[in-house]
Amino acid sequence: MSLAADAGAPVGALELTGISKQFGAVRALDDVSFTARSGSVHALLGENGAGKTTLMRIAYGLLRPDGGSLRLFGEKVDDHSVRRAVHAGMGMVHQHLSLVPSLTAVENFVLGRRGIFRPRDVSRELIALSERAGLRVDPGTTVRELSIVEQQRLEILKAPAGGARILILDEPTSGLAPAEIEELLRWIRGFASGGGTVVLVTHRLREALEVADDITVLRRGRVAHVAHGVSDAAGTRPSTEELARTIFPETLEAAPPTPMTPSAGETVVELAGVTLTDARGVIRVRSATLSARRGEIVGVAAVEGSGHRELLRAMAGLLQPSDGRVTLPQRIALVPADRLRDALIGEFTLVENVALRGAGTRRGLMPWESLAQTTDALIERYDIVAPSAAVPARALSGGNQQRLVIARELSGELDLVVADDPTRGLDFRASAFVHGRLRDVAARGAAVVVHMSDLDELLSLATRMIVAFHGAVREVPPVRDAVGRAMLGGE
């Protein structure tokens, strides 16, 4: 792991002291101190809006704090900036990867650098760096054709030119298969034992406990809990439950487990030999045959790009098959993966967003008054935090936007619910809410088909499991190992 520079004594590589940050009337961070030691992995946990990302943006020089100080390798930094951060060997890999899909790996690698470079030289540089770091990436492949894992590797390599010493990884395991997650976590450990420093921002407690030396929990902009030496054998390791309690001091009601053998009813959705093609004419799903019955929660597991997105779109009636037969029921609800692109219109009010459902077939005048009443009722029933139903959807937090989508889609009588990663970016509490609602509609007699990027979460919810891999779809026993293997094409 020569990617990390040699570090002497385990000093604080990244030290933030008494950081405060205010956004308008909101106190995002209040006197937060955070130290990531050289040669260690530090997990940063907290619910949505706890201030994790804000803190890391300050550390990386993307945001200026209102108060507090920052030290890099013991040296006080007064006017911090991204340039200073990169110069000090800091790299940040965002949750949403920021690569240009149409450019090759090596073109993305040099993107943002100044001056003139010879393609052969930078290719060689990328290859050398990737060998040293133990992260394989083919320089000539366009990013569009790289898997999520390879894209992530490229991001890590790209982060600070010349080798990273401090890496900030924001939710790096989302969208990965279990084996891929393990490989990444192993790499993170190796990087740290070679003297590097990793800050792992995550809401997956299991991962944090598996890989982290230190854990900091943020809650509402303050440090709620710090644990050092978690990985030592000293026995200070907190349990998942203990950690969850520090993140959510309000008692977490345990979600009732989904009955494994529900009284499944009639078949409401059926795909027979269905082939699906995307907008560019590429076949994404090949002769898929599957069905779902009332009362079932069918989990669809897959790594990014396996064709599961297209499969769900077809089941929602949004994608016509190029071959085969799709039988769909009348009343379908859809919870899409990308809220602000597919489910909500940011500048429309909450009432208008509620009115969106069924807008395609509505006739005559818009019944704005009754729609406003419906919206108020949904806000009440689904605990949506909003100043009023007349504010634009964009003004809501991500969790509340998702509640609005769930409220709109899942109210009323339904035959089929298609949910594509409905808990993406949500914290435990918001996720638990979504799980509850999905179990509810299944219990009320709808078939639920759901994909989640977190396999454990999906397994806890689903009554049956389907795995998509390279466009092939098959049913797999709902067991972690079997599903994990199938996600990577294994038997």
């Binding site: 949004l318 489910a343 909500l344 459902r357 069924g358 005559g364 818009m366 989508v405």
Partner: protein, 313 residues
Amino acid sequence: MTLWLQPADVVQLFDAFWRGSVGTASAFFSGTLVRAIPLALIGVGISIAFRAGVFNIGGEGQLLLGAVAATIVGLHLDTSAIIMIPAALVAAAVGGAAWAGVAAFLRARFGVLEVISTIMLNFIAANLVSYLVRGPLQEPTRVYPQTEIIATAARLPRLWPTTRLHAGIVLALVVALAAWWLLARTAPGFRLRAAGASATAATVAGRIDVARVSFGALVMSGALAGLAGGIEVSGVTYALYENLSPGYGFSAIAVAILARLHPARVLLAALLFAVLETGALGMQRDAGVPSVVALALEAGIILVVVAFQRQRA
């Protein structure tokens, strides 16, 4: 060009602008208001298209086709005004709608960007008018490149006998308010706004046929520009000729944007633009400012207004 330096000249300039636009009853009613009518009608149409996410730059061409259609009705139909006027205006709206329909078809069938196709259709329309007024529709003496004067029964009545203000202003008001109501209150209007605000959310969450909504919005927008052309012929020019429109179709785009695509606000923006244009013409006439300077000044004022508005937004 030394007029910029002399305070007295500046006063004279303002005076000319004032008298040309709103300073006298005749300037206001016969000039400014008459000019605001097509700007308002086309501006409402463009607002509808833009709200649906369709960038109709072809108001000028659609206006010309409307003018052609109204002229043909006005020249060849021979009955009472009660039938003639509506027939001419309906023909005009159909003409404009059909012209926009070409772009809408190209967009739906071949994915041709409407920004390109509507501009091209503007050129074709202008040349079509040139051909018509020198060929099939030329006046009988074959001297002037224009049509014969349309029948009296096809002319819009004047609201005020001493001015040139015609009944078209009532239509413009009704159309603007109807468009407002359509967008705010009706299901098709809501679909249109949703399709324009987010085609993906409209498709996925609303199950809205976005292609169909865009087609309809572009055609409707063309119908209103065509109507404006018909009203120009039957209320102002009484004949078809080249340069019938001093670029109404283009100014109306700025009108719509200034009004932030709100049909009722389009009325005010259209009035403002009409004031600027007649004022500029007044400066040319009374203060001897070359027309290019007057037009550049007008464009400058528009830029300042739009920039100021953007800043506040």
